[in-house]
Amino acid sequence: MIHVTNLNKSFASVRALFDINLHIERGEMVALIGSSGSGKSTLMRHICGLTAADKNSGQILVNGNCIQENGRVSRDIREMRTHIGVIFQQFNLVGRLSVARNVCLGALSRTPFLKGLLGRFAPEDQELAFRALDRVGIADKAWQRTSTLSGGQQQRAAIARALVQKAEVLLADEPIASLDPESARIVMSTLKALNRSDGITVVVTLHQVNYAIEYCPRTIALKKGCIVYDGPTRNLTRDMLNELYGAESEDLFDKKEEEMPPLLQGAAA
């Protein structure tokens, strides 16, 4: 489903990704872990074609379509993005529009140009939007202005938008990093449910290993732009992470649940 070969990327003189090779099958649910600055978000942005790689890079294929090759993003990228749903840390919804309208934007690419501009979405797409909102559990918020929703609700709206898009791949870039633990669980469970019932391939970047262990059978670990582990999550022991990341590994565990005194935990939630 997703093939990345020899991906290199540098920003100015700083190398962000070194020779990344990875292969993800249809229907997998994969966690991409690593501390901040390890290159996981950059990798995600390359897979959906929002960022172009360096010239000396290989190919990125998603569902057989070439997203980019040798650092050139495909000409048909807009069409290809339709099949790739992206969930962002900051939700990236349009705050002043209603939730329903934001979700309907997922259908833009298959709506005729003028109808799309006027917001006249096909009845079946509107129907689909409401069903998607129902699935993620925020159907009652459909007519609210999106900016009035909580973070967790906005993230679920973003997932609904990807559903309306009929995406076969879901790339979730730090979807729970700015959410409280309870909302984080709801969002991860929603992603898991979509992966199980619809067979959507899910790649999710996380900086807390706990969630990877709970929700994702496979984990790819990045460190300073290199893949340092790729395999079943259950084989990933704490000692191994310590070995891979040294002192950084402390950041990978959810301190809120493990180490923080109860008083601080209350403040963080």
């Binding site: 959906c48 929002l50 807009r78 069409e79 290809m80 993005r81 339709t82 099949h83 790739i84 749903g85 992206v86 962002f88 900051q90 939700f91 990236n92 919804l93 349009v94 705050g95 002043r96 529009l97 934007l105 997922g106 833009l108 690419s109 140009f113 799309g116 501009l117 973003a158 938008r161 898009q165």
Partner: protein, 266 residues
Amino acid sequence: MNQSPSRHSLTPPLEAREKFNRILTWVIVAALLVWSWRGAEMKPMTLIRDAGNIGTLLAGFFPPNFTDWKLYAREMLVTLQVAIWGTVLAVVCAIPLGILSAENMVPWYINQPVRRLMDAARAINEMVFAMLFVVAVGLGPFAGVLALWVHTTGTLAKLFSEAVEAIETAPVEGVRSTGASYVEEVVYGVLPQVFPLWISYSLYRFEANVRSATVVGMVGAGGIGMVLWELIRSFDFQRTCAVMAIIVLVVTVFDLFSQKLRKMVI
């Protein structure tokens, strides 16, 4: 000062430099004022010497003569209509031109030329455009509409593009990630973010255009300005006073009204 300055520092203590800068600023300001005094031929004494003349002139304004008030009201209405169309046409043009002059929307080889064009439209006063359009389309309010249109397009395009340059990119990227086209990105990612500001700017320009429309008439572009010019030229100061009173009233009412409206949209 709480911290003692370093003994080995090569730069002078900040305080002395600040003092010097302050004095320099004052010297520059004073020099500028003296220099402009001569160019502007400032003669404050004449105000005192000719106080009698000015007094006579002012007295000539009173009591205001409102006998032709129906004509003034009709022409004032024309002035408002000129302001309305001048503003609306400008808003319509400023939307695409504003986006085309925003750095984050189009490459430099598009935004730079568009910006320079808008600078030109803005740099030249409505009065000048009005004179030109009177020559082109003849005397009357339409020349006024054209003049306000061109000048206001320049102003609004700049204000609109500044709003566009201040948007958040995240929602635009969100729309892009669904496979939307460029225009759809603008319509759904950019416009909802800038809309309240754009409305506010448009209302502000309408306010300003009501004021400008009263003067473009003076060069023959219709409305109350034309009446005003005729009255001043025939030294009919009592009627001039009546017209000025009407202008002040209408402009004030529209300023207040549009201010209220602007507060509502933001």
